[in-house]
Every structure is written in structure tokens, then in C-alpha cells.
């Protein structure tokens, strides 16, 4: 297993340098050049999940150490109608976080947790702080579809 995890780490580092470099992240994420987020998410057997059940979930990094990237704050539709997961990102012990909006197709369900599989932490740091203007909250009872992944450990 160790060589595989090493590859993963190398993949993440490579992506940090070149956003479109093909990564060895499990499942072929981020999507290879020419494949959209939606197309790659469709390969991950998206499953129905209640929006209210996503709130508060831990969001992990898809590496063996499974670092916590943040927690799900809410789910919105942006002005293009795309579903975005708003995550209280980074911070330390829950303090100093800022909300960022990540396309739902860049995330996966991992049992009780979620992972962001299409962006590295460095890329996420460049995401603008989420502003609710122009977005609409997705109600708790709405069922959306989110892809799957196997545990990264």
C-alpha cells in the first residue's frame, strides 16, 4: 500500500504546481484534461442524500492522513443553478475558518464524512470567501446526488 499512498502524495504536489496535471489520486481525480467535473462525478455512482444530513459533516482530504479540511455549513445553488457545498474551511480547532463554496461534483460521500477529491488544499486556499448574494439555500429536505469513494486510509 505504501507506494500507492506515496503516488497519491506526489500527485497532490504535482497538481499544486499545475492545475491540469493528471493526478494519481484514487479514482482518477481530479478529472483528467477534457473531462468535466460532472462527467467525473458521474463515474463515482452518485447516490441520493438528504441535504440536511450533510450539514455539519467533516470534510476530509483524500489522503491516508485524512486531514480535516472543514465542515459542511450549508448547500446552495449558485446563480447558474449549480449545487455548491459551502464549507467552513481551514482554521484551527474550529476557529478562524472562512466559508468557501465547492461544486458538489468535486466532493464525494465517505460514509458519515465527505471528501473534496477534485481540488488540493492549495487550490482551495485560492477560493474566494463565500458570499450568499445571488445564491439560494437548498432546503434540508431536498435530495441531491453525490458521488462515492472508498476510504483513503
Amino acid at each position: 500500500m505504501a507506494p500507492l499512498h506515496l503516488l497519491v502524495v506526489c500527485g497532490m504536489l504535482a497538481v499544486a504546481g499545475a492545475a491540469h496535471a493528471q493526478s494519481a489520486t484514487p479514482g482518477g481525480m481530479p478529472p483528467p484534461p477534457g473531462m468535466s467535473l460532472a462527467e467525473s462525478a458521474a463515474m463515482r455512482f452518485p447516490q441520493p442524500v438528504r441535504v440536511g444530513d450533510l450539514l455539519g459533516r467533516e470534510v476530509l482530504r483524500p489522503v491516508e492522513s485524512q486531514d480535516v479540511l472543514g465542515r459542511v455549513r450549508l448547500v446552495v445553488r449558485d446563480k447558474n443553478g449549480q449545487i455548491m457545498v459551502v464549507i467552513d474551511f481551514s482554521g484551527f480547532l474550529g476557529f478562524g475558518t472562512r466559508p468557501i463554496a465547492v461544486p458538489v461534483d468535486a466532493t464525494v460521500l465517505l460514509g458519515q464524512d465527505m471528501e473534496i477529491v477534485a481540488f488540493t488544499p492549495k487550490q482551495l486556499q485560492q477560493f474566494p470567501t463565500f458570499s450568499s448574494s445571488g445564491t439560494t439555500d437548498v432546503p434540508d429536505d431536498t435530495i441531491i446526488k453525490v458521488g462515492l469513494a472508498k476510504p483513503s486510509h
Binding site: 463515482r44 455512482f45 460514509g111 469513494a149
Partner: protein, 257 residues
């Protein structure tokens, strides 16, 4: 001062390195691996620890001994804890020995369940055949050897009922499974007859989704997660040890909870 327990001739320090893959493959739990110190290997008296095969066979012998003890301790009437339906995780957690993008969905319309070995009726079963049998539901914890768990709600045919319907020899030792994803597995007859062992057809009141074993998987509350093969295509009742995917890689076979 030199310990009186220290052997005159110490084994080479490379011994642990030589067996590292085997030790890692046995168990992720640090507690158990921690016990496998150089000193503990020396305790394998009668083994020549300079030969990797000798240590491997000694460790596997211990694992088989553990299996026998677990089988003796198994209480066929004791039920695993159950939970309210409100605690069911929807959707369940995916896991396999490969990535989710490599899941190959099974066509429920053409799917057949083959039955072989020590059974009276070897007729193959269709999905409607199984759906026509009495169903049981249970909300139980799925516990993975890796350390994670989740609560899931499963509905299906009790394996005991199925084995009785096909006229299986219930005194046979093993019930073995083959799957569409080439993940053979097998359990002991006592666990197969346990009331919380199902041929599961539904999760949370809905047909199993493709990544979770549609159309049928084994779900038992008395075994670790890796003893719950998905996309089951064949069941065999046998007295010949059938092994399994992870078992052939050194995981314990009984794997009771």
C-alpha cells in the same frame, strides 16, 4: 548487568525487516502489531526465524488457532445490538478492494444465484424467486477491520431460511460465496444459521444500489465487514475449507464480532 533472560545468541536484527510485509498484512491495529516485537518472535520456540516461511506458517497457525477459539466461543442464539431506523446512514459507506469507478453493475434481470455442494435442490434462483421468500429487516452496525463503522438497515431473506429451502446439509462446516467482482468469501455454518445473517436485497427500504451489491449481498451482524460479500452469484455448502479473498492474504477467516 546482562539480563539472565537474554539468550546467548541473539537473532539478527534484520528478522523484523524480512517479515515486514507479512506483519503489516496481518492487522492494522498497533496493539497487535506492537506485540510482534523481536522478542515475541523469539517466543516462537521451535521455529527457525531466519526462514521467513517458518515465521509465516507459525503466525498463520496462531491465526487458525484464534479462529477455532472464536468458533468455540460463538453463541448461535446471542443477538448483536440493533438500532432504531432513524439511525440508518443513507447512503451507506462504500468500500471494496478497488475504487468505486471500477464497480461493474450487475443486471438484476439476467442475474442468477447458483446453488451447489451439499444441497438437495441445485436449481438456480432469480431475483423474483428470492423476493418471493419471507423477508426480514435488521438495523445493525457494519464494523470494518480497518476501524470504522456505520449503522445500516438491511432487508432480505434469512440465510437459514434459504439453506432450509434448498435442502442444505445444515451439519456441513462451511457456506461459501462467489461474487460478480471476484471476491470469494466463506463463513461457518453456525454463523450462516444465525438469525442476523441475511441474503440482503434492500437497504433502507430500497433495492440495493449498484455500489452496495445489487441485486444481492450477504449481510451478517456477527462478522467483520470483509465477511459480507457483495454481488453474490453463487452459494456452495461444503465441508472443504473454501477460504476467501482477504483470508488468502493473511486476514483471519472466522472474523467474528
Amino acid at each position: 548487568m546482562k539480563s539472565p533472560f537474554r539468550p546467548d545468541l541473539a537473532p539478527g536484527a534484520t528478522v523484523l525487516d524480512d517479515h515486514k510485509p507479512l506483519i503489516r498484512s496481518l492487522e492494522r491495529r498497533g496493539l497487535i502489531r506492537g506485540g510482534l516485537s523481536l522478542g515475541a518472535l523469539v517466543m516462537l520456540t521451535g521455529c527457525d526465524i531466519t526462514r521467513p516461511e517458518a515465521v509465516e506458517s507459525a503466525l498463520l497457525a496462531i491465526s487458525r488457532f484464534n479462529d477455532r477459539v472464536q468458533a468455540l466461543l460463538f453463541d448461535p442464539n446471542k443477538l448483536a445490538p440493533t438500532y432504531p431506523a432513524s439511525m440508518i446512514l443513507r447512503p451507506p459507506k462504500f468500500n471494496a478492494y478497488y475504487e468505486v469507478v471500477d464497480v461493474k453493475p450487475v443486471n438484476g434481470a439476467t442475474w442468477r444465484l447458483e446453488v451447489s455442494g451439499l444441497v438437495a435442490d441445485k436449481r438456480a434462483w432469480t431475483l423474483p424467486d428470492l423476493q418471493a421468500l419471507p423477508q426480514t429487516s435488521m438495523v445493525i452496525k457494519h464494523i470494518c477491520v480497518e476501524g470504522w463503522s456505520y449503522i445500516g438497515g438491511w432487508t432480505g431473506v434469512p440465510l437459514r431460511l434459504f439453506l432450509e429451502r434448498v435442502g442444505a446439509d445444515l451439519r456441513a462446516k462451511y457456506v461459501a460465496f462467489k461474487t460478480a467482482d471476484n471476491y470469494p468469501s466463506s463463513i461457518d455454518m453456525a454463523s450462516a444459521l444465525h438469525p442476523q445473517t441475511l441474503l440482503a436485497l434492500q437497504y433502507g427500504g430500497e433495492p440495493l444500489a449498484n455500489p452496495f451489491g445489487y441485486p444481492m449481498r450477504l449481510r451478517t451482524a456477527v462478522k467483520l465487514g470483509y465477511k459480507n460479500p457483495k454481488w453474490v452469484t453463487a452459494i456452495e455448502v461444503t465441508n472443504k475449507y473454501p477460504g476467501g479473498y482477504w483470508e488468502s492474504l493473511g486476514f483471519p477467516w472466522f472474523a467474528g464480532i
